[in-house]
Subunit: 476 residues, 2 copies
């Protein structure tokens, strides 16, 4: 029997790392801050990537690949951008056995290289909108690494688009936000607050950053994806102009947007439990596992015969595995597949064969039920749907229960400590108040919700008039 996982209530951070390593999703690499995606972890990333890639293409974007090496001079063309990213960069100074004349940065994001190239390709309104995406590895130096959530190298997709005017670029931002929401809510079963970042928290060089914020089981905020609107800032820095229908030259308006492998960390933090991973059926690499149970060789033959037929039937609709290993006991296997978060387990032993039934076990609730063999397919289909819906509902209820409206700074300070969670509070818009709150309480403004209704009130810190609430929280 493998030793038990750390419990969430005993040590949440250790529980998180334990789940990842024990479920064989990932491991630390010999370079500080870097990690290895092991087969199960990469299969999970591939299944998220497949869904998102289809969505990105269905909305008219084409995949591309740009170099990961960016000359220092290009990187410095947009002043805010370089100020924000340079401190996190890794720098190549030697190549091919020689010192380079100009240092090369490993991409921390690709705006600078993409708009350098696109300025060659875009010349007319016919070349717009320019809609591209790339799946790539990214390097941002990380001092306090944590598997998936904070690593020096991570995987992501970065979309970059250029449009004829600001309005079209803003529409792109809305379209991508709703595409991302589709992935995060409908596939990952993660409830989110969608909003705009404050000046202090936005992407270096952006006019606006939009974010999706989820809540972990230790009631912190975690960013699930971001969308940036740049106006003409990068177009001006990289001279990306087009001739309009009337012949005049205009700068394009650009956006960029990304979801990274950090989302796997979010997924774990939102759904998993003291038995290990809990995966939403729609992105689980294995949706159903069949564990045959036998003692004698005769029993083995009879059980494996039925199990094999069930596997074939289920596998036509769901990714189904059969665990026929001889060197492990059924109980050991149950634990293992619970640890790995497989949504439905099918158990079948000699008695089940005789009674033409199987036992189904749900990973989310642990419930077990006996089901006639002829209705297994239908019942499993319904069960998977129900698990998907119930994970989303449960996480939504948790987020709601831990979101608090606070109207005084005393209340703010006491609530952020215990019970914690998301604090919906008025903010005047002044960066000084934001900073003071952060220094006092370690809570930051996660976003100004897009669906927040205008509401008159007083800034929770300084008391000046405010028209809207922001969401404050401690964050990963």
């Amino acid at each position: 029997m493998p030793e038990k996982l750390t419990k969430r209530s005993d040590d949440y951070a250790r529980w998180y790392t334990d789940v990842i390593q024990r479920a064989e999703l990932a491991d630390y690499a010999p370079v500080k801050g870097c990690m290895v995606f092991r087969p199960y972890g990469f299969a999970l990333w591939e299944s998220i990537k497949d869904v998102l890639d289809r969505m990105i293409k269905a909305t008219g974007h084409s995949n591309v690949y740009f170099p990961m090496l960016i000359p220092e001079s290009l990187f410095k063309k947009e002043a805010q951008h370089v100020d924000g990213f340079a401190p996190e960069c890794a720098v190549v100074t030697h190549g091919g056995g020689k010192k380079l004349e100009e240092p090369l940065y490993l991409r921390p994001t690709s705006e600078t290289i993409i708009w350098t190239m696109a300025s060659k390709w875009i010349s007319s309104y016919r070349d717009l909108p320019f809609l591209i995406n790339q799946w790539a590895n990214i390097i941002r130096w990380e001092m306090r690494p944590r598997l998936f959530l904070r690593t020096t190298e991570f995987l992501w997709q970065e979309g970059h688009t250029a449009h004829a005017d600001a309005q079209e670029a803003q529409q792109e931002c809305s379209q991508i936000l709703s595409m991302y929401r589709g992935l995060v809510e409908d596939y990952l079963a993660i409830p989110i607050v969608v909003g705009r970042k404050s000046e202090a928290e936005k992407f270096a060089g952006a006019e606006n950053t939009y974010t999706m914020e989820a809540m972990t089981q230790d009631k912190r905020a975690i960013q699930a994806g971001t969308v940036h609107y740049f106006g003409e800032r990068f177009a001006k820095a990289f001279d990306v102009k087009y001739q309009g229908k009337n012949g005049q030259l205009n700068f394009v308006s650009t956006t960029s947007w990304g979801i990274s492998s950090r989302i796997i960390g979010t997924l774990i933090m939102v759904h998993s439990d003291d038995q290990g991973l809990v995966l939403p059926p729609r992105i689980a690499p294995t949706q159903v596992v069949i564990v045959p149970i036998w003692k004698s060789d005769d029993q083995r033959r009879a059980v494996m015969d039925v199990a094999g037929k069930l596997k074939e039937m289920l596998n036509a609709k769901f990714c189904t595995k059969i665990d026929a290993r001889e060197e492990y006991s059924p109980g050991w296997k149950f634990n293992e597949w619970e640890l790995k978060g497989v949504p439905v387990r099918v158990e079948i032993g000699p008695k089940d064969v005789k009674n033409h039934q199987v036992v189904l076990a749900r990973r989310d609730s642990g419930e077990k039920s006996s089901v006639p063999q002829e209705s297994v397919l239908k019942t499993v289909a319904e069960m998977l749907q129900d698990i998907q819906a119930s994970l989303f509902r449960r996480a939504g209820e948790f987020m709601d229960a831990n979101t608090h409206r606070v109207d005084s700074y005393e209340e703010f300070k006491s609530t952020i400590g215990e019970p914690g969670g998301f604090l919906s509070a008025h903010w005047c818009g002044d960066a000084a108040c934001e900073l003071a709150v952060k220094e006092d309480t370690a809570a930051t403004i996660r976003c100004i919700p897009l669906d927040g209704k205008p509401e008159s009130g007083q800034c929770v810190y300084c008391g000046k008039p405010s028209e809207r609430r922001a969401v404050f929280a401690k964050a990963y």
Copy 2:
């Protein structure tokens, strides 16, 4: 009308670059030796990748992702390996605003980081075979860059496997070679010679390297993929041991194998012509393009109505595009889709609508034929199959016609200049002869074919006894 492409007979190297840039497959990036995969080029890579990824998974390998940063100390553990690769490496010396204590190499291949990690994961015969693959970007400093063929950064898949013994590892090499042959011959329609590399040409650190060599239209050899057998060399350098069933500790035997985005260069060099790209139907991102032709608005409506229905019908089986752009003439569009190598073009004008027919044009031969609308689907299906087969046959005939058996060094030297091609000649196995031939003629040993029958003869250079012929050629 866009200006004409350079002809192959005028300047083969310039023709190659022209085709790539004009078909918008790729472009040079601001860092010397680096390139950008534009949407059409990346779609081509994705379609090759999809086929190969399915094959890799179907043979039991799992995808993973390892860090691209490799500490210098790990990189130096296998002596031949570091000697071979270090001169081509890019080195990170600064990260997070500080000079690093130990330089980090950008992976030129991942053996060193993978076996460092796997030595933690492999301990028992139950952990074998260990079968992984990763899709990744690779950096090898390139002094004489050429789009796709030689670039400082390129994309590839690298498979890495560990086995209980040498025999099983050798079987893996054979299995992968036959999988690769399936991709290259059946999908890319590229004929190849499969063989073993000489000591001088093999991968740094390998006991054996197997290669697939194709022939370009300027009769040079080009490597389409390689498979390496390492014996216990990396296992010893990185201490990868397992406990066998009988309890004793053994080193694993390892392999690695890769196909890179260079294969796109090979594809172009083998099939394309003076009108531009020629793509085999099975990997063409767009298999069929419909060009509607009209003069009046009435004609436009009637033509677009039929074209739209045809598109829907064809698109259910083949990736089909309709080019309804108003700002370009039909003739311009014909050129454009020829340049982009789309295998079949469907032309439909007012007369065709009236006669319930369309015109089909084949990209490979340029032949045009009128076909009744009701048999378009069937005819296009047959035509795509025929194009696929005929590209492979034509390239095979070209390779055969340009492969020469030579039995004296005089003949060797005169043949390698003109007509050129592959020279099948006896070689004694001595590296000194191989080097002398290379210095004299610029031809290298591409491989010792695996299907070559034992045959007694004399080394073409020194005259000593030889048991087998090798393939010599000038190579990319």
